[in-house]
């Protein structure tokens, strides 16, 4: 039983990191209907920003986190302005392909020697690891920190989206872009803000990931990005709480299937469950099938 709880905690840790990435995917999709394949690589850049902030600039962890988040917010907005905005009127698939291009570019550019370099870097930990034993279950202070920071950011996001005027504008734009424009909302600005916030969250995810699984490399974003994207869809794409739930489920399924079923087939399991969920609930867990009026 304790093993089960132990694995659940491990799964939740992974799930929270996925959640931070998944939120960016779901917010951007909700607002411009784009699957931003480059998002996983923004996560990677965030991890590197955090790495350099801690090692080169010797910043304390919270400041490094903020620097990484700010840096990626800028990166996200830049990508949006340069690569996606010109394609807003074009077929959706064009922006998707451009996103793939941006993703490849970020990965290979960052692996060039004079940029980040291809080596696997060891991410510095802000404090030494200490384990707490709670009735047979080991929880480390790293895990607690990941939970704390992730939950704090998620709560902040919810407050931002639900209680502020900008958040309301974001919701309006994702509901109906043209009407929002008619209501006087600066749609371009809102889209940029969405990208900025999503990218900042991904950066936070990157830093936390680096601390929890202390290794970063330029290709680290591919798989987590993919899984986070799947998580976002699982929970209902475009729905923020859905992304959180989907991500936690993805993390748990991954860890539990590795622990109790088979580690070789773990990915097959995770995605198999995903397909089953989609077959039962085609619009995702929290998604609602919209009735299309003809």
């Amino acid at each position: 039983m304790t093993i089960l709880i132990q694995q659940i905690i491990n799964g939740l840790q992974l799930g929270f990191v996925y959640a931070l990435i998944a939120l960016g995917y779901t917010m951007v999709y909700g607002i411009v209907r784009l699957i931003n394949f480059a998002h996983g690589d923004v996560f990677m850049v965030g991890a590197y920003f955090g790495f350099y902030a801690i090692t080169r600039l010797a910043l304390p962890f919270p400041l490094a986190l903020l620097v990484a988040m700010a840096g990626c917010a800028v990166l996200g907005v830049t990508i949006e302005r340069v690569a996606y905005k010109p394609l807003r009127r074009a077929p959706r698939i064009a922006a998707l392909i451009t996103a793939i291009g941006v993703s490849l570019f970020l990965e290979y550019f960052c692996s060039l020697r004079f940029v980040f370099g291809p080596d696997y870097r060891s991410f510095p930990r802000p404090f030494a690891v200490r384990n707490f034993d709670l009735g047979g279950v080991t929880v480390s202070n790293i895990q607690i920190m990941v939970f704390a920071v992730a939950i704090a950011l998620l709560v902040l996001l919810q407050l931002f989206v639900q209680k502020t005027k900008t958040g309301m504008a974001m919701r309006a734009v994702s509901f109906d872009k043209d009407t929002a424009r008619l209501m006087g909302i600066d749609v371009d600005l809102i889209i940029s803000i969405t990208f900025a916030v999503g990218s900042a969250l991904a950066a936070a995810g990157g830093v936390l990931y680096g601390i929890a699984y202390p290794q970063i490399n330029p290709f680290m974003g591919i798989m987590p990005g993919l899984k986070a994207f799947v998580a976002a869809v699982l929970g209902g794409i475009g729905i923020i709480p859905g992304a959180m739930i989907g991500a936690l489920i993805m993390g748990l399924v991954e860890v539990l299937s590795a622990a109790f079923v088979s580690s070789t087939m773990r990915d097959a399991f995770a995605f198999g469950i995903l397909i089953l969920v989609l077959l039962v609930k085609p619009a995702g867990i929290l998604g609602s099938s919209t009735q299309e009026k003809v």
């Binding site: 093993i3 132990q6 694995q7 491990n10 840790q13 992974l14 290979y108 692996s111 291809p118 080596d119 696997y120 060891s122 690891v129 384990n131 080991t138 480390s140 990931y209 929890a212 699984y213 202390p214 290794q215 490399n217 290709f219 680290m220 591919i222 798989m223 987590p224 860890v255 539990l256 590795a258 622990a259 580690s263 070789t264 773990r266 990915d267």
Partner: protein, 383 residues
């Protein structure tokens, strides 16, 4: 629109035919090719082998070249992708007209490379690929133009098992391996078979995927089995992670691994977790032999930082190639191949090399241990 398309097509064809025509060396050059993963997930390995290769060639050119001619190199990137490796091989052989290739790093790239080299009678030495199928086909036929400079998976796995049983006195071993990596998987299998054959018990044989960074699930499982030893034949980046997480979880088993552990980054990644860990390698940088010490100094002078096993093997492979060409006395791959196969006790950095009938070097396996953050020589296992 139509005329423009036709013109564009015409240019394209002209360009292609033009490019197709050019290439190939002049008669006062010997051309040697190098295939390595210069981009992609194992870029660092490709850079290491490229460094070793280039250093060897530079030295040779400074000493007057080969057969009185300058050595020209052509380096291509295979992205650690078998299809790219095959395309790169075709380019080297047909476009650049090379007769000798040092490469590639991973077995999945070396195997298609070896087939193309063999069918074109181009001599190939892979510095680091350990899958037996690189030099010998599944049906047993030998690709006689293909050699390697490192020991194979079966040898390394067996050596690791001997260490585990004889030196480390392990009875129960757990194995962790990357299911998607042929090198790691191969080593794991050979270790398992050898260990069982030596009377040991494999209490856990678990796999993970390439991109996994969280091993808590696996390690928790392992903890329940309480092994004496954990065999992790993966590369340093993964091993560092696993070691760290294992120690964090309170697993105190002895750690054992293969040559993938060899990297200056290992201690940076693993920290204290790797202390006491043992691994098999191609050579030991502490080996007092002059070949080793001069090599380490040369590499450090040119590239700053100690050479890892891959750079060393690439250097050795290139030296072997150059020596064989010298002995053959002529730029003819068939004659050079014969010269290469006949080499006995060649003094390379990684040991004294003699090739066996399968194109594999008969050499000892060095065994190293991490003590106080440094690699120290433990013992060596003769073939």
């Amino acid at each position: 629109m139509r005329t423009r398309q036709v013109i564009a097509a015409g240019w394209a064809i002209a360009l292609i035919v033009g490019l197709a025509g050019c290439g190939g060396g002049t008669s006062n050059e010997v051309v040697i090719g190098h295939v390595a993963p210069l981009t992609g997930d194992i870029k660092t390995f490709g850079e290491s082998t490229k460094n070793g290769f280039q250093l060897a060639i530079e030295e040779a050119n400074q000493a007057g070249g080969l057969l009185g001619r300058v050595i020209r190199t052509v380096i291509v990137d295979d992205k650690n992708d078998p299809t790219e490796a095959a395309n790169a091989a075709a380019k080297l052989i047909n476009q650049d007209r090379v007769h000798y290739i040092v490469g590639s790093v991973s077995s999945k790239c070396s195997i298609p490379l070896s087939e193309i080299a063999q069918s074109n009678r181009v001599l190939m030495i892979t510095p680091t690929s350990t899958n037996p199928k690189v030099t010998v086909r599944e049906d047993g036929t030998r690709k006689d133009y293909v050699f390697r400079a490192c020991f194979t998976d079966p040898i390394q796995g067996a050596a690791a098992s001997r260490i585990a049983r004889e030196q480390l006195h392990a009875q129960r071993a757990a194995v962790l391996y990357d299911v998607g990596n042929d090198y790691v998987k191969g080593l794991a299998e050979f270790f398992r078979d050898a260990f069982r054959g030596a009377g040991g018990e494999i209490c856990a044989y678990e796999s993970y995927a390439k991109d996994d960074v969280d091993f808590s699930a696996l390690l928790t499982k392992l903890k329940g089995e309480n092994p004496d030893l954990i065999f992790i034949p993966d590369y340093y980046n993964k091993v560092g992670l696993i070691a760290k997480q294992a120690r964090q979880m309170g697993l105190t088993a002895q750690l054992l691994g293969g040559d993938g552990w060899d990297s200056p980054e290992m201690t940076r990644i693993a920290g204290d977790a790797i202390e006491g860990g043992v691994f098999t390698n191609h050579y030991s940088p502490q080996d007092p032999r002059p070949e080793v010490q001069t090599w380490v100094a040369k590499y450090q002078a040119k590239y700053g930082g100690k050479p890892d096993a891959l750079a060393t093997l690439a250097y050795d492979a290139t030296l072997l190639m150059l020596e064989a060409i010298r002995r053959a006395g002529i730029d003819d791959p068939t004659k050079v191949r014969d010269a290469l196969a006949a080499i006995r006790d060649f003094k390379s950095v990684s040991g004294s090399i003699t090739f066996d009938a399968e194109g594999n070097p008969v050499k000892s396996v060095a065994v190293l241990q991490y003590k106080n953050g440094e690699q120290t020589f433990m013992t060596s296992i003769a073939p």
